[in-house]
């Protein structure tokens, strides 16, 4: 099938699945197709490389800046905002021939696990006529991929925002190691955790976009510098290599959905059958990771979102703002931010306040360090950022665990949930975020039956082992399909 026909099909799907509300703004279809035609003519054999984005439609999460389409972060305060500059990752994809089809819906500023906290309405999936959560916060990107509205999509992952929607929608969602992909032009939620992530229907498309964007960028002060990059493996491991797979038994919680547990056990069995070995791993700090995350991320968010005042850009509240006792944007911020964003700003402002910082922010930073140490103890490869030890023979190469404790919940259930219950969905994804590790979610069915339900399985690697994580994900996906 030619690039143009692929593109036409994606655009058709945009209309067909419009009710799922995956996009906030879409590019003009005519000009998108014109660009595809141009890209297709430069490669007359059509695009046979399953990894190349040349002439392919890519969806961009709406917190990644583009100059031609507005960038709203799904917030009322930026509902008409058009960025004067383009994010580095967007530029990189465009230079590789990708065509931006639109900006995808999300939880406002990335805060949410079900994509219901958007100024532009919720994004959802439908299974057997039931509305279910698309997962958040990159729900729009995941739905766009899952329903064929694009070839692949960019998301962002702060505590699981790419992996969780991937798990709920049955797509592949990859969060690379922190610092590999440029954050220049990515609207910050929690800088020390924010990572650009990639969603696709297979590992090839995801890896293709990763290879293009995995480049040092001097615009991003947290971009991993060239000399440290040179110590990281850049090649995929040899196909014949067998891996030591870690099974974190701390993740086998009592509330784990039976379908998820079955898919997990099946995944382990499939990999074992391919000659890889399984090993029990303890990650005791994991039980505190979620609390630490929900202290640290809101703290950074309360700081990062202080800039939205409608003074230099963004939308101001109607009428006069400010009183003699307040600044000139109290009303603007009150109207512009949704309830979940306001909740996290308050939470973060509290945990940074003089009376709380020692008991919350500082403690959470300590937990974060413990979580990282847990992972370092488990992996055979030393963490290139923190120590220079040799490989440990007893360590594992990757960890395999579920991405989320349940399958996609019904939308009607999550809408009535207390915030704390929604936060629980991130329990398995947050530890890798706190440690900055590469992690990918791939869909694995609970059994071989064609109609069986799929759960997201998460593969986590040591810092910088992104290629290894992608290779294991490909093997697991292949094994699940073949059996």
């Amino acid at each position: 099938m030619s690039l143009l026909r692929h593109a036409q099909r994606h655009i058709d799907n945009l209309g067909r699945y419009g009710h799922l509300n995956a996009f906030v703004n879409v590019a003009d279809a005519e000009s998108v197709l014109a660009r595809v035609a141009t890209a297709a003519s430069s490669s007359p054999t059509d695009n046979v490389d399953p990894r190349s984005p040349n002439g392919r439609l890519v969806a961009i999460k709406d917190n990644i800046c583009t100059t031609d389409i507005p960038t709203t972060a799904a917030s009322g305060i930026l509902k008409k905002f058009k960025s004067p500059y383009c994010a580095t990752v967007v530029r990189q994809l465009r230079e590789a021939g990708a065509i931006a089809v639109g900006k995808t819906n999300m939880d406002e500023f990335g805060m949410g696990s079900h994509n219901i906290h958007s100024h532009f309405g919720k994004t959802k999936i439908q299974q057997n006529g039931v509305d279910r959560s698309a997962g958040g916060s990159s729900g729009g990107s995941a739905v766009a991929v899952a329903t064929g509205q694009c070839w692949a999509a960019l998301g962002t992952d702060t505590g699981g925002s790419v992996r969780l929607p991937a798990a709920y929608t049955g797509t592949v969602g990859f969060k690379p190691s922190y610092g590999l992909l440029s954050r220049w032009g990515v609207i910050a939620y929690a800088n020390s955790l924010d990572t650009v992530g990639i969603l696709g229907n297979d590992v090839d498309s995801v890896e293709g976009l990763f290879d293009i964007t995995n480049v040092y960028d001097d615009q991003d002060p947290t971009s991993l510098d060239a000399s440290t990059r040179s110590h990281l493996p850049t090649e995929a491991p040899a196909p014949s290599r067998t891996f030591r797979i870690g099974v974190p038994i701390d993740y086998n919680i009592s509330t784990l959905d039976p379908t998820v547990r079955k898919a997990w056990l099946r995944s382990l069995r499939l990999l074992q059958e391919r000659g890889h070995s399984l090993h029990r791993v303890r990650l005791p700090a994991t039980q505190h990771a979620l609390s630490a995350y929900y202290v640290l991320a809101p703290a950074e968010a309360s700081s990062n979102l202080a800039k939205y005042d409608g003074v230099r850009y963004g939308t101001r509240a109607e009428g006069k703002d400010g009183t003699p006792d307040s600044v000139l944007f109290a009303k603007t911020r009150g109207e512009g931010f949704g309830p979940e964003v306001q909740r996290r700003i308050l939470l973060g402002a509290f945990s940074l306040s003089a009376q709380a910082i020692d008991n919350y922010f500082i403690q959470a930073q300590k937990v974060r360090r413990l979580v990282q140490q847990d992972f370092d103890k488990a992996f055979a490869t030393p963490n290139c950022l923190t120590d220079s030890n040799d490989r440990k023979t007893e360590g594992v190469d990757v960890l395999l665990c579920p991405t989320a404790p349940t399958l996609a919940p019904k939308l009607s259930e999550v809408q009535d949930q207390k915030p704390l219950q929604a936060y629980m969905n991130d329990v398995f994804t947050v530890p890798a975020s706190l440690a900055g590790l590469p992690a990918i979610s791939v869909p694995v069915q609970e059994n071989e039956s064609a109609s069986a339900e799929a759960a997201g399985m998460q593969i986590i690697g040591q810092y910088g082992d992104d290629k290894l994580v992608l290779a294991v994900a490909r093997q697991l996906l292949d094994a699940a399909k073949a059996s």
Partner: protein, 610 residues
């Protein structure tokens, strides 16, 4: 226009006679458009907070000056000299002051973007995306900005920290685009410094200390400046983001100052040091330096139960208050005096000092409450997750230490001690302080030229420094009294040439002054050319010509001559000298020779040789 180029505007205004000169001098010390603090305004770098009454700036100045005059008149009626006489209250109470000084660093680029720094550029022309907090942008630390900061810290004898880091200090204000200021709260780059104040640092006769006094510097930190608010009365505030993220240093002193004069001298000395090592852009006069002061008092011999407070590790102090945003040395001194007296009044009347933030307005007699403890802003300091810690190598520190320009204490001693300059301590300090050090540079140039001209004459060489000092400070200084200093109006070379002619007795003193005025008024011919064109060379009269001139004068004014001889009215000899000069061609009569001849004619003893 005022806001864009304050200095230039002031110079222009000065030329209009109907503007009060003392107002203008005051204006130089004041950042523009400041008179009131809004309640919610946070402290620090705080620019010029918008006024709530929006009175035009010049009017405010005039009113302040008027009020002050009135107050002084009132005071002179009752208790004049109160400052001179010993104040018994000050014997009983001890004042303690700590100061935080903010200074704009002299850097090419902003602290966290590659945008250029600027003082008077068109508003909003030097602004990077990050400076205005555009979504998705990140800070780019400009490491070159460390250099002037390090020079400043070294000059203040600080220990440079190998590792330092940046934190966010949160507060909302429209001049703060990101909603926080990036500063160094947890790990400042320099700590534990000090400066020593010597008697020569004080204005003559005001030194309250016995001998040198050393004041500790707790830390020096780097931080961002805010945007500039430009008022458009009645109710519009324009924002100029050129200044956003201009690098600042904040210098935090220990609470070791016990006298308002010492506090003022401390700030002035820091100003001088920062300028001497080329660390800052401007003096306090242009808003380049701003200070907050912490003031407390305690009874010297009182029971210490109420002195339970400890600030920066200095203990047993009374409850302090903070006075924010003082923009001149004079304001610092006046505000401390007012706050000290307020606290003593309060305590002596059985009251309690509240820990609060207070403000001080130009020309007022008291400080004003801005907000109490309960109204304090919680800045929610958080390490900035986008900025890596800064590591400063010892090699860099060593290099900067070795290449540090001479500091003012060393400069004073160079100017005062030894034979090269031979100035008085007072003249030396004046030279250093004037025109941000430009006057000193000019002086050095003049002396350098003169030394070349008289290199063969050691007896003249030893006098050069003093003579040049006199001409640079007094004669030239008088011409610049109402005008901004310029080193090019009369070049150092031309002034040296005038002085050299005088020293060689080629021209008279009054000719020299006339030449200086001509050059000052824009005369383009060289000094040599003017002297030769206008035939100004001293052509001394012969002894006989002197004698005949003197004799004819004495005969003409016999009564005056009689008075001199009989009543010993020796002062009147000078009158005759003046007459002799007036009646002769310019440059022919030397006062000393004329007096000698007059004495001869009147049979008076010759003038004693000093």
């Amino acid at each position: 226009m005022l806001a864009r180029s304050p200095r230039g505007a002031l110079v222009l205004l000065q030329k209009r006679s109907y503007i009060c000169q003392s107002c203008l001098r005051r204006a130089r010390r004041l950042p523009l458009a400041q008179n009131q603090f809004p309640k919610a305004r946070s402290i620090q770098t705080a620019t010029a907070p918008p006024s709530t009454d929006d009175a035009p700036f010049r009017k405010t100045l005039k009113e302040a000056a008027k009020k002050k005059k009135k107050d002084e008149r009132a005071a002179s009626g009752s208790s004049r000299n109160s400052s001179k006489s010993r104040n018994p209250r000050l014997e009983k109470w001890e004042l303690t002051v700590g100061i935080e000084i903010h200074a704009e660093l002299n850097t090419a680029r902003k602290l966290f973007s590659a945008a250029a720094t600027s003082a008077n550029a068109t508003p909003n022309t030097h602004v990077a995306l990050f400076d205005t907090a555009f979504p998705g942008t990140q800070p780019h630390f400009q490491k070159e900005t460390l250099l002037p900061a390090l020079r400043a810290a070294l000059a203040l004898n600080c220990e440079i920290q190998h590792r330092s880091s940046f934190d966010r200090k949160h507060y909302f204000y429209q001049d703060q685009p990101s909603g926080y200021q990036i500063t160094q709260y947890y790990e400042p780059f320099a700590q534990d410094g000090h400066i020593t104040l010597y008697p020569h640092d004080f204005p003559a006769g005001t030194c309250p200390e016995d001998g040198p006094v050393t004041i500790g510097i707790k830390q020096v930190q780097m931080e961002q400046d805010t945007a500039k608010t430009v008022q458009q009365p009645p109710s519009t505030h324009l924002l100029d983001f050129n200044r956003v993220s201009h690098p600042l240093i904040e210098i935090i002193s220990l609470p070791q100052l016990h006298n308002p004069v010492t506090a003022a001298v401390f700030v002035r000395k820091i100003q001088t040091i920062l300028k001497a090592v080329n660390a800052v852009t401007a003096g306090m006069e242009m808003g380049g330096l701003r200070a907050d002061v912490n003031v407390s008092v305690k009874e010297k011999d009182g029971n210490s139960s109420s002195n339970i407070h400890s600030y920066h590790g200095v203990g047993q102090l009374g409850q302090r208050t903070e006075i924010k945003n003082l923009a001149s040395v004079k304001a610092i001194e006046d505000a401390i005096i007012a706050e000290r007296d307020r606290q003593i009044d309060l305590l002596e009347n059985g009251g309690v000092v509240e820990g609060e933030t207070r403000g001080w307005t130009l020309g007022s007699k008291t400080t004003r409450r801005l907000r109490g403890k309960e109204g304090e802003i919680d800045y929610r300091y958080m390490p900035d997750p986008d900025i890596a810690p800064v590591f400063i190598g010892q090699d860099l520190v060593d290099h900067l230490r070795q290449t540090l320009p001479a500091l003012s204490d060393e400069t004073v001693s160079t100017l005062v001690d030894g034979t090269t300059y031979g100035l008085t301590a007072k003249d030396a300090n004046t030279l250093i302080l004037l025109d941000d050090g430009d006057r000193l540079d000019f002086y050095f140039d003049v002396v350098e030229h003169l030394r070349n001209m008289f290199s063969e004459q050691p007896e003249v060489l030893v006098r050069l420094g003093k003579v040049a000092g006199n001409w640079v400070l007094m004669e030239l200084g008088a011409l610049f009294k109402n005008e901004e200093w310029s080193a090019t109006k009369v070049s150092a070379n031309q002034l040296a040439t005038i002085v050299a002619h005088l020293l060689r007795k080629q021209i008279t003193g009054s000719t020299a002054k006339r030449l200086l005025l001509m050059k000052f008024d824009g005369e383009e011919r060289s000094v040599e050319q003017i002297v030769s064109d206008e035939d100004l060379f001293l052509r001394p009269l012969t002894h006989d010509e002197y004698l005949s001139l003197a004799q004819s004068l004495v005969e003409e004014k016999a009564d005056v001559a009689n008075g001199i001889v009989k009543k010993q009215q020796l002062g009147k000899i000078k009158w005759f000298v003046g007459q002799m000069m007036a009646r002769s061609a310019e440059g022919t009569v030397e006062p000393a020779a004329a007096e000698a001849v007059l004495r001869e004619v009147l049979h008076l003893p010759p003038v004693e040789q000093k």
